[in-house]
Amino acid sequence: MADYKIKVWRQSPLGIGPGGGEGPGGKEGKFETYTINNIDSDLSFLEMLDILNQQLLQENNIPIAFDHDCREGICGACSLVINGVPHGPESSTTTCQLYMRHFEHNSTIIVEPFRAKAFPVIQDLVVDRSAFDRIMQAGGYISVHTGAATDANTVLIAKQSADDAFTAATCIGCGACVAACKNASAMLFVAAKTSQLGLLPQGQPEKTNRTLKMVQQMQLEGFGNCSNHYECEAACPKNIPASYIAQLNKDFLISSFTNKEFECQNDNCYES
């Protein structure tokens, strides 16, 4: 059993809270510190927040909003920057799979939302990550005919390509790469999503268009550029290596000079 001080970001960007008032943290947001006692070391970080929220409710306060869904490390809904690291201090771990035994008794834990212009705060620790959805809509798919599915293994795929595509496909789209990057760049996400299709035969017909469109959308959403710092790779709960970014760089270079179809929506492709 351990006690903690939880210093957490509270913000109500709309300036309205339940039951009137301007909502916790106000429009601009600020840190609040709460004390929480008798926490079992086998509780997950999110369970600890659940208990804290219960405590807040009993004290007639508004609970802290945070994102979560599967709580088993596969959906990418949970987020949080804990003591300066997205998904907390344990590597290859999502926040929902992070346990309180990793935090010292009586320590102060600082919890912040993912910070990026492209990820505006909705409430407290919940940020709007729909920019990722729009990047996917821009080209993160393959077009196939409907009807009966073809037999398995009619298209042969080299083991290495299948493995590489699979590694890329383990991206759960949580946004930790953006949160960890000093430039709030989404390159690792985009690289994983272009590679999981671009490395397979089924992804070839739309490859150059996909690459150009997804990179364009990334820029229009206001993410930063890659400085090859590889903080994304270190923060990624799925250990996706930054070499996929090199793959994206190469694909982008080739696509830029071979694609004849891609047209920008406005005069300047990359400024909204």
Binding site: V81, G84, Q219, F223, N228, A234, I245, N249
Partner: protein, 224 residues
């Protein structure tokens, strides 16, 4: 043409161009240091070489190309830097580096310091801003005595130290640049790891030490 301009302003394209411009400057540095090392072969070698360079018809083509590449490199770097700052308007309360190295973190600062050095360096030896540099034709050898300018210049200890520190900063800048180059151009083959992580640091060390050897040798009195 439209494709080219789209490419230049894209987040990845601009980095590729910055990387290529930087690479050209790096190749120039290798040529530069090889020429410099002639100083150890005595004043005649260096002076004749410098004379040949100064009277080369391609001198200005070369100088303008280097100026263009440098401006492009700096312009893109600053543009990316500003965009990156905009991408995170509110910074973290705890801003922790998970694995970020010193060289990576200080690229913009080392870049600016190198820029200041370049201006000083051109002012010092090419434009003769310092009293130790004489651009007049030496009557004995019928050309500018570059050898003497260098030796006299580096005998002033703050000048020599400034050069030495600047060379170390260039090494710091190159440390991240050369690793980045492969990533930006899309090489990520495992076989290249050896080249990127073992060979490039050695190359940088040799380059920096070769540059430093000259002010150091003058300071120690080995070259007079």
């Amino acid at each position: 043409m439209k494709h080219l301009s789209q490419f230049i302003f894209s987040p990845i394209g601009s980095k590729i161009i910055m990387a290529l411009a930087g690479t050209m400057i790096f190749l120039f540095l290798i040529g530069h240091v090889l020429g410099n090392l002639l100083i150890f072969n005595g004043s005649d070698s260096l002076n004749t070489y410098a004379h040949w360079l100064q009277n080369n018809p391609l001198l200005w083509v070369f100088r303008l190309t280097m100026l263009g590449l440098l401006s492009l490199h700096i312009f893109i770097a600053l543009r990316l830097y500003i965009q990156n700052k905009y991408a995170r308007p509110i910074s973290y309360q705890v801003d922790k580096d998970i694995q970020l190295g010193f060289s990576e973190k200080t690229m913009i600062v080392s870049g600016l310091l190198i820029f200041i050095f370049i201006i000083f360096h051109i002012g010092h030896l090419t434009l003769g801003w310092l009293p130790t540099t004489s651009l007049a034709i030496d009557n004995n050898i019928k050309m500018v005595n570059v050898y003497e300018n260098i030796v006299n210049g580096f005998q002033v200890s703050w000048v020599a130290l400034f050069y030495i520190v600047s060379m170390l900063i260039i090494g710091l800048h190159l440390h991240h640049s050369l690793k980045s180059l492969f990533q930006t151009l899309g090489f990520h083959n495992h076989n290249l790891h050896w080249l990127v992580y073992r060979l490039t640091p050695i190359m940088i060390a040799v380059l920096v030490l070769a540059f430093i050897s000259i002010p150091a040798a003058v300071l120690m009195g080995w070259i007079q």
